[in-house]
Symmetry: D4
Subunit: 253 residues, 8 copies
Amino acid sequence: MDPKRLESLLSRVRSGEVAIEAALAELRTLPYADLGYARVDLHRALRQGVPEVILGEGKTPEHIVGVAEQLIRGGQRVLVTRLSADKADAVRARLPVLEYVPAARIARYRTDAPKLGGGFVAVVTAGTSDIPVAEEAAETLGMCDVRVERVYDAGVAGLHRITAQVEMLRQAAALIVVAGMEGALASVVGGLVAAPVIAVPTSIGYGASLGGFTTLFAMLTGCASGVTVVNIDNGFGAAMAVIRLLRARLEAP
Amino acid sequence: MDPKRLESLLSRVRSGEVAIEAALAELRTLPYADLGYARVDLHRALRQGVPEVILGEGKTPEHIVGVAEQLIRGGQRVLVTRLSADKADAVRARLPVLEYVPAARIARYRTDAPKLGGGFVAVVTAGTSDIPVAEEAAETLGMCDVRVERVYDAGVAGLHRITAQVEMLRQAAALIVVAGMEGALASVVGGLVAAPVIAVPTSIGYGASLGGFTTLFAMLTGCASGVTVVNIDNGFGAAMAVIRLLRARLEAP
Amino acid sequence: MDPKRLESLLSRVRSGEVAIEAALAELRTLPYADLGYARVDLHRALRQGVPEVILGEGKTPEHIVGVAEQLIRGGQRVLVTRLSADKADAVRARLPVLEYVPAARIARYRTDAPKLGGGFVAVVTAGTSDIPVAEEAAETLGMCDVRVERVYDAGVAGLHRITAQVEMLRQAAALIVVAGMEGALASVVGGLVAAPVIAVPTSIGYGASLGGFTTLFAMLTGCASGVTVVNIDNGFGAAMAVIRLLRARLEAP
Amino acid sequence: MDPKRLESLLSRVRSGEVAIEAALAELRTLPYADLGYARVDLHRALRQGVPEVILGEGKTPEHIVGVAEQLIRGGQRVLVTRLSADKADAVRARLPVLEYVPAARIARYRTDAPKLGGGFVAVVTAGTSDIPVAEEAAETLGMCDVRVERVYDAGVAGLHRITAQVEMLRQAAALIVVAGMEGALASVVGGLVAAPVIAVPTSIGYGASLGGFTTLFAMLTGCASGVTVVNIDNGFGAAMAVIRLLRARLEAP
Amino acid sequence: MDPKRLESLLSRVRSGEVAIEAALAELRTLPYADLGYARVDLHRALRQGVPEVILGEGKTPEHIVGVAEQLIRGGQRVLVTRLSADKADAVRARLPVLEYVPAARIARYRTDAPKLGGGFVAVVTAGTSDIPVAEEAAETLGMCDVRVERVYDAGVAGLHRITAQVEMLRQAAALIVVAGMEGALASVVGGLVAAPVIAVPTSIGYGASLGGFTTLFAMLTGCASGVTVVNIDNGFGAAMAVIRLLRARLEAP
Amino acid sequence: MDPKRLESLLSRVRSGEVAIEAALAELRTLPYADLGYARVDLHRALRQGVPEVILGEGKTPEHIVGVAEQLIRGGQRVLVTRLSADKADAVRARLPVLEYVPAARIARYRTDAPKLGGGFVAVVTAGTSDIPVAEEAAETLGMCDVRVERVYDAGVAGLHRITAQVEMLRQAAALIVVAGMEGALASVVGGLVAAPVIAVPTSIGYGASLGGFTTLFAMLTGCASGVTVVNIDNGFGAAMAVIRLLRARLEAP
Amino acid sequence: MDPKRLESLLSRVRSGEVAIEAALAELRTLPYADLGYARVDLHRALRQGVPEVILGEGKTPEHIVGVAEQLIRGGQRVLVTRLSADKADAVRARLPVLEYVPAARIARYRTDAPKLGGGFVAVVTAGTSDIPVAEEAAETLGMCDVRVERVYDAGVAGLHRITAQVEMLRQAAALIVVAGMEGALASVVGGLVAAPVIAVPTSIGYGASLGGFTTLFAMLTGCASGVTVVNIDNGFGAAMAVIRLLRARLEAP
Amino acid sequence: MDPKRLESLLSRVRSGEVAIEAALAELRTLPYADLGYARVDLHRALRQGVPEVILGEGKTPEHIVGVAEQLIRGGQRVLVTRLSADKADAVRARLPVLEYVPAARIARYRTDAPKLGGGFVAVVTAGTSDIPVAEEAAETLGMCDVRVERVYDAGVAGLHRITAQVEMLRQAAALIVVAGMEGALASVVGGLVAAPVIAVPTSIGYGASLGGFTTLFAMLTGCASGVTVVNIDNGFGAAMAVIRLLRARLEAP
């Protein structure tokens, strides 16, 4: 898959520097560490510019600690998402180097890293209850040294709350719009700015909000074209999509 | 049920003017005409201020003609909704007094009637494709002599299209907002005006719009409070809700 | 947006009374208070005749207190809905001026206000379990000084329970029908009265009642025309819809 | 399975009248005719008091004719349900002894049979569009010589249309209530009578009626207890349920 | 509605025995007791042969006690369904005359009553986990003095478990089949017997069993005709349907 | 991926027989033919023992012909599934070597091939309408020279129709059960035999059968353990699953 | 049903060795033990090669102990699935011979049994959170002496994690792929190997993963043909399907 | 909203150049053309870098022609999407300047425009049937002068079809992945490249593919982070999202 490494290997095979059996072995053993319960991908930072993120939900504290230690040992940044306060305590008891951010429900370990500079990303919410998801996005961006402007509680029922911010929004390199209920904010913001807009539906609301599916569908079918969507409550995924595009911009010729 | 009629009947029973058997019969035979396949309610106009409306969908032309004739004979206005052009031809061949309005898919027969005056109702659509449903509402209001202002194609992706109309919208006695997709227009309009707003979701759109259900749910869960909703594509129902409130206003002490 | 204020501002710009920069700033800063986590709309009472209501669900006690204080400081009434007893205790510990109504799960702070007089609103429930939602509606109406008549446990399986009340129901200025299960009461009441009827589906029931969605859909597709619907369990929303129409009636020429 | 037949067989085995191999064969060959594409159950009339009914939908005319011929040859009545007019023509071209009833979309062949006497069954519909399903039920009952009273277009939005018939409904041996939309009629009728009520949801309606599922769920969750439900548009199934109970009554000691 | 009572009232009006105002009042006050939160129907036992049953779920112990006392005072039997053990304790603390049956989650108060004799009803379950729903049905039948035969854990994966009982099942006056998962037992039993079969889907199972909806739909679409269905876990409703048909049989000429 | 081919390539690189650039190219060009609109996998027959099958639905006749020609040129068998009669005509006009089987809606081209011998596969259907799906499975098996026994119309409402075949079913190497509606046949057969059972839900039925989803869910949640399921109407997929296991058996040591 | 036993019984009837009444009784009493709440199938091990498994969920500890004791008394292995740690304690207090495996949430009792030898089964998971379901499958296979190779955390977002294992996967006799979210691993593995693949969707994930239904549907509609699917989280069912095919292979001529 | 225009207007108001009434009027009349049935946004090209696109579905040919003429008159490019061949004929009869692209179901009118240069966008499909949606995306990108590389029929069941293209995919500025069924291709591609990936679910497939919803949900819940999603079959929306990010890159400092 990695053509340069393959070419080098083949050269060393030709020169006799590497035995055929060793080459076969190397071709099979790609750089991940097998912990039995997890295969930790140590080269993702190289491949995708971000560390392998650990989804805290559904994992035991032991598994989380095991994977995080492996990443730290590999010299990588660590981000654990959807980590409840209780589980964070259990994890940090064994790995105090991790810092917990309750508002975003994440734990993190940061090393120095090259900055993804150039402008800022606006993180906008429709209501106060959408803030935890927005914070997950904002903290993930922070992990990658991206500057964030927060615009919270700017839902469309009081249209002036969003229109008053238009100028700032139009200067953002990208926008993450976090909303529940009918998700109209994504359409309105998408119509007001030309930059990339990632919409995050939240599971806020009751009855007809269907645990976030109404918002998800509303955002997918919304009338502002070119707005893309991630899974319900997936602030982390929205941040990762922004990082993909900021990196692509950096590397553009 | 009708206390005055009951009181009068009882008086006539006491006076011997009406025999007990006859009273029993009358108490059982309320004023509807039984056509075998339909029981036509001839007093609805009195009870609710609007004629019994005939839902054209799912009825044979023979049944539609039969019911309409009965109403006309009873001196009432007639409104047939969801009537395809083909079926309208078959119906009008036998009952040419009915007038067909293709844009609204309705047929109607009007008599003079007291006006539901006082101001106008704004019928607003998000897009061009929502117009047939809006016309069904507008024509139904017209049947009851309510003045209508149409504001079509004012979706929120171009916010200025709706904000430019705010002043007029604020003067409406009531508003009907017809929208498909994420239905954000209902929230935005609901936040801009204080008058009653009836939202009508339309089945416009594809994929995640779920044949109108995403819009329906989005409108129900929308962030502007006090907006009420009717069934998908039910322009007629929205008009009837407006007529209920205009009549209530007329009769208010 | 507010044409009078805009005209006055422009006049003061022309007269030199207001500098262009100041005018620009004012045009951008509409009257809301930005608390960081919330943008409190202080003029909604003016615009829509009701205070900004705080949805208690999904907010921390700190956020609820913060917004409520801002509203009280602005001289406004306060209504917090969907507030659990536990959270109410935490909120009232800091803001004892709020009064808690457990049956309706709301907290409120009332000031004197002009009355929305003229008649009464009937709040009808199908069963005993629908009462909390009905109380949310009734208390919200009470906040706006609207008189309420309660008719509870009048489901259609014992038809005489509702027909016995017909005369009173026909005198109501508007009706809120709260029902779970098949929601037939909305159709029956809608057929008996000519006044506006707002139907509130409740999440009462099990299995095929689908957490209120069967009732919601049944009410939307019900056979009495002109009945409109709000979200499941949304007694507050129904009350707000009634307030919109009572205000519109007051202001009618 | 059939204990008497088994006992007799065993006796004949003991007496040597039947060879063990023959007994084994008979125990395996139960009385159905294998046509390759169908196994026609010739004893169902004996077992369940009704002929095997042929669901016309999804079968070729050849298959329908083949099964019907086998039943007629076996001296049985034949009922083909959900048979479109086109397919009926193709079937009757080969088997003219079948009579087609377009209003019920059934074809039938009747022989003399013992009557399921004792009273009548009321078939009630909410609207005119529900009539085809009601006719499927009525014709199926007719096939079994059950007397039927039809009460059509008696929906609850005009409550007097059903209350005027209460006395007759209370005399029915059983009731089939056919309704679309919110299906409230089943609850209302179920509350008015003590006899068995079978509810049939129809696929009439649009939007929130969900092709009949809203009605189905509403009927299942309806507030009149002891009402049972069959599949959407399944007039035939409702009739069969009534026949089961009429037969059980006949045979009761 | 009650024609005899109406006729007598009219006679007394004619004779002057009853004043018109009094007659009007009586015509409006049908025999229910209004407790504010509930309208207790004291004549249901007369009208439908069963007491008004109290659905325990969603009611406070106070409300349950209030309604039950009213019924007991009216000389009626009482049945409280879906009553958790905790709530039962609270209820029985105030009304120790009620007896609690934990396996069926019901509380009951029995008086002597005419028996619904004639045979027995078979209550069949597919698995062990379906027993609580079956017991709700069996206990409700017991309340009305109907004899019950229980056949539990007879699912179709071991077909011999049900075929071994065929003879007994064929002698039942009616059958209640309680099953979760694919609900095949209802089809199999429906094909084996000619008597009325009421199917009760249960919410047993996980994943694709959809909380009982797969079973519900499977039973509705099952291949044995004339099987009818009640709501998920609604053992009570199935028993009530059986009581309707047993009573109808008793009263048949 | 293919270790032997990789080892040989590496040997030839070491020996200088193959240049590094050529090795790189070969490592990248795996054996598929790129037609622009399709990448035809010519080695699937080797890898998986079956030809690449062409799903006819959603492809133009031109695309089908192009892919089929490529496969025939590669010396492979061809199977086109879900091919309507119309499209089959258009395809066979250009490629008459294909044979069309209308009952199974497939077109095929056969070459000689090693047989997957050893016993037979039983294909069982619940009803007559399930036959086309069963034929798709049977014909696909026939393509791979597997012997098939058909048992059609053996639904559980007439239990003797399936129990009469038990002995034969128990001798099958594997069973494919094709059923619509409640899909009970899969549970019953799964309980009667020990061999692998693949269940195929069909979209036969109306209303609560949900276009096959009720059957799908019922089969997934069915009470006979070890029954596996394929997509709705996917007779082809069931046959492929059987071929996987017959091949595995052949190759077992 | 069991032809040999039937033949022998008939012979003994003919010879007079068995009385007709006794034969009738025996024909009715098939080999299950009726515990009142359960009918324990003592011959399933003979019929299907596996013990009757007890689904722990939804049963009381008393019922579990009762059934397990009956099986142990019958000389059979016992497997209790979906048993929470709490309930396991209650069960083992009475039946300490059962061994509890927390990672798989099963309890088991093993006797010596013939081995299902010949190769191994690969159990593959996409993520760490899928391990409990995989363990349920692996432990069930272990109960039947099948060798298992575990490949955990090999999801497709890091494709090299699965491709590195291809050689081993290709040697497996059958594969169980356990995955949540989009379930792509089943398609990828199905395309890489020719052996039978059973896919198990898990309920891991949030929002659009719909509690496992997205994975279930994705696996059913996946592009690798011949992959079959079991219910969500049903590791046990997948193991049983593998056992069916391993046994069939053993018994193949 | 447009601060510069507002500032200039205010300056001209101060200088007396513009009367207050005229300023008020201008503030209200934003630059759209009101056609009655549509409000054509003539400045969107300026605001968002793309012309207003006309969704052909659900509009009459007259409306399409009217809007397109207005845009052409305004000197803008025109793109009509989801235009059937029939409707395209009707539109082009009146506006022959439009060019129709059947493979993408779009009509277009191009003028010279500044190029969005810099690299290329890869459009990848899983199957042949996904091509029309991919072409809609590719043609929309072409309208904006973006270079496109097409990689069609590269589904994951033959993994080598996609891995062979990895090098090229890694050089793309952005990727659009179009897939139906389980949509695994989006996860696999997302794991292989670091650039932005927009996933487009298609409605290809049957049964469990749920008309594209399974793919939609699978893509949303997929395991490669940072992949975003648009509505089902929305090739146009994916292209617009790419254009947003390419423009943002161009304008980045």
